[in-house]
Amino acid sequence: MNTQSKKIQPQDLPKRSLAEWITFGIAVAILSTVIGLVSYVWLGKERQPPVLSITYEKTIRKVDGQFYVPFILINKGGETVESVRVYAELVINSDFKEQSEQEIDFLSSGEVQEGAFIFSKNPQEGKLKLKVESYKLP
């Protein structure tokens, strides 16, 4: 029978123990920290538009006749972007041209994404151009 639970009055209930108050205090601290950090992000860089920059590293790897050029893509702006298309073009003596491109799914504010473009000829013998082509907002 559940009639007993109906008879319980708030004043009859046991008081909260010290342990419960301490864990409640820790919980309040965790929740306030998270809410505080979200507010900080909100008032901070969030309003700035995305600023994307791509650079490549000079340490080119050669494996099985292929040249791997590592790149670093950074979103220096405030907003998160999706479907970022990055493009690289290698031109050697104006008669050889090779292109490589790829799409990064997702890049939030301040996020760094690393990857590599792969070419069949040594990029150090020609001119390598890297650029961010496009992105979309989520």
Binding site: R16, L18, T23, F24, V28, L31, S39, E46, F106, S108
Partner: protein, 292 residues
């Protein structure tokens, strides 16, 4: 003096018990979404006002749940009690999901603050709901039911079931039920690709700890029965370890079934995939053992 020490110890034991029960419920309810990359992405791109709304909505739902079920032995009749427990439930959710996201390396020192907060808050929503529902999980509906079931189980076991086989079966079935929706997804290879030895060891440790907490430390209603269970699973530690191994086998089979693993792949891939699937499988296995 000794009485004071005793009561203080029992107070902390009771509190710890409630918290572990909440954590266990959170894992049972929240584990499938912890393995969902769309939730990581939605969280990453969510704007701060949306995150604050998510916290407020979660708090409201958890508050309502705490008034009916919750994760404590006591009922939250008073507004103040439900408020305190809701705050705790959300904090448990935030803390546990942050641990798992760090284990998955979805949150690292390089993750921007906004992205980390988004992932954390979105993942902690189902977890906090699980905390608030933990008393509801695997809880017997009534004393009468429990009594009937005990009698039924006793006679059944005498007739046909060896305790150990029952445990292995329950662990296996529980692992399959929880893991089946995760095994075919891209999250497993994705997490496996970014993980390495030490992280896998930590994941194994976390799986064992969570499994132990669900079955032995969280004071769910069927625990007394579990401690009376016969067979090689009698000792809590050996039960946890053996069940984990059973869950790993179930995890590997599920991955093979969904063609995530095949015999041509190297053993290291099998190991990584299986350990990653081992976490939800061991959570399911633990729930399965409590359910029998």
């Amino acid at each position: 003096m000794q009485t004071f020490k005793k009561s203080s110890l029992s107070m902390w034991k009771q509190e710890l018990n409630s918290l572990i029960r909440g954590i266990s419920g959170g894992f049972l309810f929240g584990i499938p979404l912890l393995y969902t990359m769309e939730v990581w992405w939605v969280g990453s791109s969510a704007k701060p006002p949306r995150l604050l709304i998510a916290i407020a909505l979660t708090f409201t739902i958890v508050f309502l749940l705490n008034q009916t079920t919750g994760f404590r032995d006591t009922k939250d009749v008073r507004f103040r009690d439900a408020f305190m427990d809701s705050t705790r439930a959300i904090a448990i959710g935030l803390l546990c999901t942050s641990c798992v996201l760090v284990l998955f390396q979805e949150i690292t020192f390089d993750t921007p603050l906004g992205e980390a907060l988004g992932k954390l808050i979105y993942e902690s929503v189902p977890f906090a709901l699980g905390v608030a529902l933990s008393n509801q999980f695997l809880k017997d509906n009534s004393d009468q039911n429990q009594e009937d079931r005990k009698k039924q189980q006793k006679s059944d076991r005498k007739k046909q079931l060896n305790g150990t086989i029952a445990d292995v079966g329950a662990t296996f079935v529980g692992s399959i039920i929880v893991g089946f929706s995760i095994a075919p997804t891209d999250e497993v290879p994705m997490l496996a690709a970014s993980t390495s030895g030490p992280w896998l060891l930590l994941l194994i440790l976390a799986s064992l700890l969570i499994s132990y907490a669900i079955v032995f430390a969280a004071s769910f209603s069927n625990q007394t029965k579990r401690q009376q269970q016969q067979g090689i699973f009698q000792d809590p530690f050996s039960e946890t370890v053996i069940s984990y191994l059973v869950s790993l086998v179930a995890a590997a089979l599920m991955l093979w079934f969904f063609n995530q693993l095949n015999l041509e792949l190297p053993w290291s891939t099998w190991l990584r995939y299986t350990v990653i699937m081992g976490l939800p499988a061991s959570v399911g296995g633990a729930a399965g053992r409590l359910a029998i």
